[in-house]
């Protein structure tokens, strides 16, 4: 397994947000973390990236990375598309993409990868010299995904990619995510409120409730279980 998390506890100051969380993710797999607001989904992603105080075990390629600095986790090939998209609003679209590859040295390949992002997201190409803050929500989400891909990541962490987007845009975005997974083999860990959508994209789901994993099952099993759907996923 590429990513193995076990016995993970996370804290914000005195408050504990995660309790004994465990899950795993293999090379090229897509898995999703589901749960209500405040269940701890975002905290799981932040724990992996060293953005919150943790106790427990987080292994990437067997190497323990719990408590590592964010910058060092990124250098392992972990790209995080954070809540709120993390756009550098005052920089241009193209500068945002270049920042995604700031840890890479291969300048020619970076230029080629930027062109490749533009193939996936043609709207970004039209707006390459615009301040990123002037993009629409959907475009900013595309930019955030594009910026993450610029790392040539092995693991992509996506925090609520559908948040605040129109249904049509969301469908387009998820289709692109699926294509990227098939083309590049990048593994994805997707946090979503829109459970139906996430279960379509992912092959396996973990259900979180108040900081604990309460269900760990293949996506189609979770999706087919009516009582789970009704009580946890709201559809």
């Amino acid at each position: 397994m590429m990513l193995e998390v076990s016995g993970l506890n996370a804290f914000y100051g005195q408050n504990q947000a995660l309790y004994d969380v465990g899950f795993s993710l293999g090379e090229g797999q897509v898995r999703t973390l589901l749960g209500a607001n405040g269940a701890g989904k975002t905290t799981v992603l932040r724990s992996i990236c060293g953005m919150v105080r943790v106790a427990g075990d987080i292994r990437f390629d067997g190497k323990s990375i719990a408590g590592w600095a964010t910058e060092d986790v990124v250098r392992l090939g972990v790209a995080h598309v954070p809540e709120g998209r993390g756009t550098f609003v005052r920089l241009t679209v193209e500068e945002n993409l270049q920042l995604g590859a700031i840890t890479r040295k291969d300048k020619r390949e970076i230029a080629a990868d930027i062109e490749h992002v533009y193939v996936n997201f043609p709207r970004l190409k039209e707006r390459r010299t615009q301040q990123a803050g002037t993009l629409s929500g959907g475009e900013q989400q595309m930019l955030a995904v594009g910026r993450a891909l610029m790392l040539r990541p092995r693991l992509l962490l996506l925090d609520e990619p559908s948040f605040g987007l129109a249904p049509l845009i969301v469908e387009e975005l998820f289709a692109i995510l699926r294509r990227i997974n098939e083309e590049t083999g990048v593994a994805m860990l997707v946090v979503e409120q829109n459970a139906a959508l996430a279960l379509e994209l992912a092959e396996h789901a973990y259900l979180l409730e108040t900081g604990r994993v309460v269900m760990d099952a293949p996506a189609d099993v979770v999706g087919a279980d009516e009582s789970i759907r009704r009580s946890y996923l709201g559809y």
Binding site: E71, R90, L91, Q98, I102
Partner: protein, 291 residues
């Protein structure tokens, strides 16, 4: 007309001093997001180091370069040793650290080199130019300031390191998520601000003379210039610095009752008025954003 031209040129020459200082103020503002009250004292100390090297017989340009390099290293160390530990402290605690740095540098300069006024050489001489409107040193000051600005612009717009520094300043959390080492970018900002301050100090010293308190007034003007031009814009800071110099001179000459005594106050009042209408400065970027 003759008088006007003369006063404008004299204002530009003073303005070059302020612009240089304003540039280093903006540099540090970009890196740490607030003002460094010890900026002037750092520049003063750098100038003393150059002076000492010259006094020991080092050629001017070698001393000039050595002072810049030493100041850069010292700037990085000040960040790592002094400000890193208080980085997350409340702003007032940080302010106390700045004031401590101010008085440490001021007193040690006084202790090492005493408070007598010293002359500082200029390699440009004081030959009158343009019918004695400016002299060569003043012209060089203007030139060096503009050159610094161009270099900074090329660095921030044209290099990946410059891009990473901008990202780290604008949005540290996102910068970390793309792998930018934000702490080092801040240290680099300190180093660059210290180096620019050293250049400013060495250009200013031949005009105001060298002594531990030489920068106090200059830093005030530098702050004024930076705030007027916009703390987020190096070019704005330089223009702001020049503008403060020119405003001050014109007010002193042409507005009755103002004279030499009140010209600084008047210039500062004008700046306050500008800021009432443009709070982010004349050239400060206002963020356009959509959700």
């Amino acid at each position: 007309m003759e008088l006007l031209l003369q006063q404008v040129m004299a204002g530009l020459a003073n303005g070059a001093i302020y612009a240089c200082m304003a540039l280093s103020v903006v540099m540090i503002f970009q890196a740490i997001d607030h003002l460094n009250f010890a900026q002037g004292e750092m520049a003063m100390f750098s100038t003393f180091i150059a002076w000492q090297l010259i006094a020991w017989g080092t050629p001017y340009w070698l001393a000039f370069a050595a002072s810049i390099v030493l100041s850069f290293v010292a700037g990085v160390l000040i960040d790592r040793v002094l400000f890193r530990p208080v980085q997350k402290a409340p702003i007032l605690s940080q302010l106390v650290a700045f004031i401590a740095l101010f008085s440490i540098l001021n007193s040690s300069a006084g202790q090492i080199w005493d408070y007598t006024i010293k002359t500082f050489p200029t390699p440009f001489g004081h030959t009158p130019l343009l019918g004695s409107l400016v002299d060569t040193h003043e012209a060089a000051m203007i030139g060096v300031t503009l050159l610094l600005l161009v270099l900074l612009y090329a660095f921030f717009r044209g290099t990946r390191l410059g891009l990473a520094m901008r990202a780290a300043a604008a949005n540290p959390e996102s910068a970390r998520l793309v792998g930018v080492r934000v702490g080092w970018m801040t240290a680099l900002g300190w180093g660059m601000a210290a180096a620019i301050g050293a250049v400013a100090g060495m250009l200013i010293a031949p005009v105001v003379f060298l002594e531990p308190n030489m920068m106090i007034g200059v830093l005030l003007y530098g702050f004024a210039g930076a705030v007027l031009g916009g703390l987020s814009s190096p070019a704005g800071a330089v223009i702001g610095g020049f503008a403060v110099g020119v405003l001050e001179n014109l007010a002193g000459t042409f507005i009755p009752y103002v004279g030499q005594e009140l010209k600084l106050s008047l210039a500062l009042i004008m700046i306050v008025i500008v800021l009432m209408f443009r709070p982010s400065g004349l050239f400060g970027r206002s963020v356009v954003s959509r959700v």
